[in-house]
Symmetry: C2
Subunit: 196 residues, 2 copies
Amino acid sequence: MNICTYSYEEYLQLVKSFHGNLAPGLIIGGFIVDLALKNLPEGEFFDALCETPVCLPDAVQILTPCTIGNGWLTIINFGRFAVTMYEKQVGQGVRVYLDAKKLDNWPEVRDWYLKRKKKHEQDFDLLLARIKEAGHNLLGLQRVRVEPEKIRRKKMGPIGLCPICGEAYPARDGESCRNCQGETPYTEITGIEMQL
Amino acid sequence: MNICTYSYEEYLQLVKSFHGNLAPGLIIGGFIVDLALKNLPEGEFFDALCETPVCLPDAVQILTPCTIGNGWLTIINFGRFAVTMYEKQVGQGVRVYLDAKKLDNWPEVRDWYLKRKKKHEQDFDLLLARIKEAGHNLLGLQRVRVEPEKIRRKKMGPIGLCPICGEAYPARDGESCRNCQGETPYTEITGIEMQL
């Protein structure tokens, strides 16, 4: 059993190294991305859409050229465990999702995914074993079409210099940057000398 | 000259492999993350906050344990080229930013970053050479405090099954999932048989 071009064990190593731990969702995510790539419609360049920020985007980043920083991966926070790979010009794509109807065949996976068991009631090794057994059998597949321009990251546009903080920012945001307009996440801020 | 535990050349290889190309912003991002890690306040566990989705999050993902999928990296779209690493309990942290005031010493970097030259007018190799020369000299450093609970990804909470699509979703989103409430990015959707 392979996950894209990796053996299952190689994929687990990549998950540990990139994500920091063997998150069950990221292992299911490996099967999701694998199934999506095996069922791509025609086209040369595919972007990714992930319907949850939890775990799944890392499967996309490990297994495809799409990352959050290069803009080929978009995350929308629907909280559905699904990845869509779509041809970036016309938007024809394939969507793979964890199919809740199939979960009853895999009670450990169901109780973890639907949060029917608390963490300390779960048998982690058994859960991982069942996920491996189930593989693609937990998943569903759809042909979809998206409007790429609605999903993809917007271009920055012209750059301004914020009159308050002095940093560069997208001029379309207004007369100062969004931080200085009051959305700042910082409660304290002080300039310091750097240590190299 | 090193970028965290990597030589400069090793870092460029990681950038190519993960991000797909030698994006100038991601090379500056390497210096930003390096400087942040060298100036961390006391603390054991640090999360990352990135003030732009463009390029910079990939420097964080390549060089730190923080990824978008494990929730230790948060992105806010202020369009400022800055990364904050903060202690995850109390929020004490360090913020490193590209300091616009220092750009005049590096005209190629300035004209690229402030979009004063079109792409075909830029000398890409010269730009990369100047970024390497400039290194940390383009950057500024601040001690900051954030409120971690305001920044970090919210927990999913209880799970519901959407009565329309049948998929699991965060019950707090309402009586159906956000996709089925009308926010769908899909203009067409059809179930198909999977090819393995």
